[in-house]
């Protein structure tokens, strides 16, 4: 039992520092953002209508998040996938997710029922219920934890950042000798 606990502890420490699991989390969450951003960007008007359903922002300013959020998701999703500016991208993802979670929670309290327009998973053929509810709040909290893991990691395998750093170290190597 103690051995199992020790292994789990080591695994968590490794994930927290950054191992292949962290890389999988980064690429998967990045892909999800890229995917949802792509569909939102393809139909800005529909996404604007989705935001309007939340009844939190005044109608006059709805146009701005409708125009910006899809491209923000596209950029941070791409950055996470290729592994460049990972800390900033995951930080923006956390802020974005926190915002979505608060918006959903407010509408859950209000008793509203509509499609959240979150990840557009239905378009992938994945039949996930995206109607406003507590399950979406929990799901978003899980995503926040996943982005936090990526944000907190010190090492990122298969990333552009890692490649640049390794290259720099190689360049410094011979001159240091």
């Amino acid at each position: 039992m103690r051995t199992i606990m020790k292994r789990i502890k080591n695994l968590l420490i490794n994930i927290s520092y950054g191992n292949r699991i962290t890389t999988v989390i980064r690429i998967m969450t990045g892909f999800l953002l890229l995917f949802s951003g792509l569909f939102k960007a393809a139909d800005i008007e529909t996404f604007g209508r989705t935001i309007a359903q939340y009844k939190i922002l005044p109608e006059t300013v709805l146009v701005y998040p409708a125009m910006i959020i899809p491209f923000l998701e596209l950029i941070i999703g791409s950055l996470l996938m290729i592994g460049y500016k990972i800390k900033a991208a995951s930080f923006v993802s956390i802020v974005l997710m926190l915002m979505f979670t608060v918006f959903i929670l407010i509408n859950v309290i209000r008793g509203e029922k509509f499609n959240c327009g979150c990840f557009e998973l239905g378009r992938l053929g994945i039949g996930i219920n995206e109607t406003i509810g507590m399950h979406l709040v929990v799901r978003d909290l899980v995503f926040i934890i996943l982005y936090w893991i990526v944000f907190n990691a010190k090492k990122h395998c298969f990333s552009l950042e890692n490649y640049i750093e390794t290259k720099k170290l190689k360049e410094i190597g011979p001159s240091a000798n």
Partner: protein
């Protein structure tokens, strides 16, 4: 341990700025994008230009209030029969007169405005002022103005 440092904040701001710029740029050419228009343009969608024949139909229906937006002197010289005068300029005086006559303006009549011609602009300015005062329905402007009305021989008074 300082998890969020200045570099992360700066990079995050750059990402947001790039996304905002990209979003607004692509939105311009996007077939399903938003169009950002000025408030004056929005108001102008309620302002409809009509020709003399359409104006005459409204005149004969007796359900329209004709408003002359020219100066007091020009109005006294000649105006469309039954029209009232609300000069567009100075703006302060126009706003005051609109406010004083607002009950009449929002009564169950259509507003038909005119000035010295199709490019005089004062009737358009007056229409914007009336909408700003809270008028909700469409406002009509006679494109040819009073010269066209006189030339056609439609009823006028002095």
């Amino acid at each position: 341990m300082n998890l969020i440092n200045k570099k992360i904040i700066r990079d995050a701001i750059y990402i947001i700025i790039i996304a905002a710029f990209l979003g607004m740029l692509i939105n311009i050419f996007h077939p399903k994008g938003y169009s950002i228009v000025t408030k004056t343009y929005q108001k102008s969608k309620k302002i409809i230009f009509i020709n003399l024949d359409e104006a005459k139909i409204k005149f004969d229906s007796c359900k329209s209030l004709f408003i002359d937006s020219r100066s007091d002197g020009e109005f006294k010289d000649i105006h469309i029969k039954g029209a009232i005068n609300i000069p567009s300029y100075p703006f302060e005086a126009a706003e005051k007169k609109i406010k004083n006559n607002f009950e009449l303006l929002k009564s169950n009549v259509e507003l038909v405005l005119y000035c010295s011609g199709s490019h005089c602009g004062s009737s358009f300015d007056l229409a914007v002022k009336i909408i700003e005062a809270g008028y909700k329905r469409n406002i009509y402007i006679i494109d040819e103005g009073i010269p066209g009305w006189i030339n056609t021989g439609y009823p006028t008074e002095r």
